[in-house]
């Protein structure tokens, strides 16, 4: 696939592959994946365990570099960036949500959200505090501000993680199995929150999941199998077609 340096696509993966060397030999986790994500899209990447979902997501999020191919964020080739520039991208352009929440244990909910805001030198300390409070309120945890992660339920921790990912208003939020460690109710709440972000704030979302219910909330579904894209479907059009058929 040819790469498009225009900003029509916020995130692009061009012939991206990732190989690992293990004691058992070389593992080809992702094979020549091509993906273009527009601003405001809500993309679900689905596939069975070991299909390369998380590896693809980590490459899209500049946490790992591809063995082959290129990843472009707003037209910038991530492979050409220095570690400091990548750190800047993770601060301001990318937000991460992990299956295991990955909050800093010894920081309160407020501090976990406030932490990435500390990188934003354009904001006054007071503004950063206000924004952290607003984000806590947005995810419905205004009254849990001083609680440490261990004092919060799984769903609450994930909501803190969403607020943290939102802190610096990133171009893309990447979520890896955001409901994987949650019960049905909490999972639905988290997906409601993410869906709301996408619809209300036009936040670009890429969610990796193996849960069909979660995937169905997205507007586009990418099916990954054995490291390759098997299907890339527009769920909105599908739904419209189904309605037409009815």
């Amino acid at each position: 696939m040819t790469k498009d340096k225009s900003t029509d696509f916020v995130l692009q993966a061009c012939d991206v592959s990732k190989h690992y060397r293990t004691t058992a030999g070389e593992v080809r986790a992702v094979k020549e994946v091509n993906l273009r994500i527009r601003e405001g899209e809500f993309v679900a990447i689905m596939g069975p365990s070991g299909s390369g979902k998380t590896t693809l997501l980590s490459m899209l999020g500049a946490l790992e570099s591809p063995t082959e191919g290129e990843v472009l964020l707003q037209g910038r080739d991530l492979g050409r960036l220095r570690s400091r520039e990548l750190a800047m991208l993770r601060r301001f352009q990318l937000g991460f949500i992990f299956q295991s929440f990955y909050l800093v244990d010894h920081l309160t909910a407020f501090e976990n959200i406030r932490f990435p805001l500390g990188f934003n030198v354009k904001m006054e300390p007071g503004e950063r505090d206000d924004r952290a409070v607003r984000l806590l309120g947005m995810v419905g945890l205004a009254d849990r501000s001083d609680h440490f992660p261990r004092q919060l339920s799984g769903g609450e921790q994930q909501r803190v993680a969403i607020a943290r990912a939102m802190a610096n208003e990133p171009a893309v939020i990447l979520a890896d199995e955001p409901t994987g460690n949650l019960d049905q109710r909490s999972g639905n709440e988290i997906m409601d929150a993410l869906e709301d972000l996408n619809q209300r704030l036009k936040q670009t979302l890429v969610v990796v999941t193996h849960d069909e219910q979660v995937a169905r909330r997205a507007r586009r579904l990418v099916l990954l199998e054995d490291g390759q894209v098997m299907e890339d479907r527009d769920l909105v059009t599908d739904a419209a077609d189904m309605n037409m058929e009815r």
């Binding site: 946490l63 790992e64 991460f96 800093v104």
Partner: protein, 494 residues
């Protein structure tokens, strides 16, 4: 943000922090003790020299102490330095063994001597520094020992030196240096008794040979010829050997520098013999002069006999005995300020000069440095090990911080700040603990509060600065490891 997070981590990982902190504190404590002792005067330092000289600080008139190698023969006005003829009246040679070879030293600038009966102004009791307990002139007279040996009559130079018996017993432990007989005691005051030492050099004596010096048990007494004093010329005494007095002294003991290497002498034959195991023991190393120690009172009695009536002896050395060893270097400095033109040296300083002249390093100073470096290495390794364990435990946290935007350099900075905090706290802890004890000692030693304060600040700055620097240096490795961790690999493991 970095600082806040680092402090929180230090508090959170308390057990590891404590281990690292103790390591640094011990190193800082050792360094504080070492520096504090350096400012004072280690009690054990150069104990042999101090005991046998009977002084902690030596004062020479004029500028003495130039090694023979530095002085060209015949260049300018020089003093001839000749040990073997018994012309040496200073104990300087005790510490500058080079001088036991004939040579030259620079003459004093103006005054070649002190009046032994009139202390120079800065040494008067009312003007002495509080720490200085006693000042007394080194009293010496030239002498020659005459001994009848199987190979004929032997005469060798052996100056008579006055010992202050009270100081010897109260301030010094002189007994280890006596290997035959006993040291002088209070009852010997005014008595014609002598404490002898053997000839110079060391080595294994030939079996069957006889000692060439008086040995108590074998020789009850020794005859010493002492010249009469004809007067003074150019500030120097003129000795008249034609009018020498023969003074008989009862030999009460032998002393040597080294202990435990006593020559085995058969009491019946008076010769060196092998012991029951067939071993021939080493002859102990003797002082570089062949002084005969006599009680001070006896010395004055001999002086009355050989000097014209009313003549005051001249002192070519003053010995200062301190009440307390702390701050001896400072006292020496103060005295030097009060005695311009004189040479004032602490005994360790003088010993070091002698050692350097022989190309030897000061062993105590070296050991102290080696110990200090070893302590810092141990503390540093402890810190590295702790931080490494800590970083391994906190891999997930580091990965999260990187995922939300921290750069590798910032992660490294975070670890370094933590290490620096441990280093700083440990250094302050170690320094404070040891310095408190030292300050107590200094207070008892009547050192002024202002001086203690200044010294504390100086030592503190040095200890805290170097300990923190050490922590920073040793912290670089674990911090680098933390920086290099890949976020995704860590998160996968977690």
């Amino acid at each position: 943000m970095l600082w806040q997070l680092a402090v929180r981590n230090v508090r959170r990982n308390w057990s590891q922090t404590l281990l690292g902190l103790i390591g640094v504190a011990i190193a800082a404590g050792v360094m504080t003790a070492s520096l504090s002792l350096g400012a004072g005067y280690p009690e054990v330092s150069h104990v042999e020299h101090r005991s046998l000289t009977g002084a902690d600080i030596l004062i020479y008139p004029g500028r003495l102490g130039v090694g023979v190698h530095d002085a060209a023969e015949g260049a300018g006005e020089q003093w001839r330095w000749s040990m073997r003829r018994g012309e040496v009246l200073s104990d300087l040679s005790f510490f500058q063994p080079d001088l036991y070879e004939d040579g030259y030293i620079h003459p004093p600038d103006d005054s070649a001597y002190f009046d032994a009966e009139a202390l120079p102004e800065p040494l008067l009791p009312e003007m002495r520094p509080a720490e200085v307990a006693d000042v007394h002139p080194l009293l010496k007279l030239p002498g020659r020992v005459v001994m009848d040996t199987p190979s004929g009559t032997k005469v060798h130079p052996a100056p008579l030196r006055a010992r202050d018996v009270q100081i010897d017993h109260e301030r010094r432990d002189v007994t280890p240096y006596v290997y035959r007989g006993r040291w002088l005691d209070a009852d010997d005051a005014g008595e014609y008794v002598a404490l002898m030492q053997g000839p110079r050099g060391s080595g294994v004596p030939a079996e069957g040979t006889r000692p060439q010096y008086p040995v108590p048990g074998l020789h009850d007494s020794v005859t010493v010829q002492v010249p009469s004093l004809a007067g003074y010329a150019d500030g120097h005494p003129v000795w008249n050997w034609d009018d020498a007095r023969s003074i008989k002294l009862q030999v009460i003991g032998l002393f040597s520098f080294r202990v435990g290497e006593k020559p085995y002498i058969d009491e019946e034959t008076g010769s060196y013999v092998r012991d029951s195991e067939g071993k021939m023991e080493m002859v102990p190393k003797y002082l570089e002069t062949e002084d005969i120690f006599i009680p001070e009172e006896t010395w004055w009695a001999i002086w009355e006999e050989i000097a014209p009536e009313g003549t005051s002896p001249r002192a070519y050395q003053f010995n200062v005995v301190l009440h307390d060893m702390a701050r001896a270097e400072q006292v020496a400095e103060d005295l030097a300020g009060g005695l311009p033109g004189s040479t004032v040296r602490s005994v360790p300083e003088q010993v070091m000069i002698g050692q350097r002249a022989r190309g030897q390093a000061g062993v105590p100073a070296d050991m102290s440095t080696v110990l200090l470096i070893a302590m810092f290495l141990v503390a540093g390794l402890l810190l590295v090990a702790n931080m490494y364990v800590l970083i391994m435990q906190r891999r997930k946290e580091m990965a999260i911080l990187k995922a939300v935007g921290m750069s590798g350099i910032q992660v490294m900075g975070l670890i370094l700040v933590e290490v620096l905090f441990i280093g700083l706290a440990g250094a302050l802890l170690g320094f404070t603990a040891v310095r408190l004890v030292v300050t107590g000692v200094l207070l008892v030693s009547e050192v002024t509060a202002a001086e203690i304060g200044l010294l504390t600040l100086q030592t503190g700055a040095l200890v805290v600065g170097s300990s923190t620097l050490m922590a920073a240096l040793f912290g670089v490795l674990p911090a680098y490891l933390a920086m290099k961790q890949t976020t995704m690999e860590v998160l996968r493991d977690a």
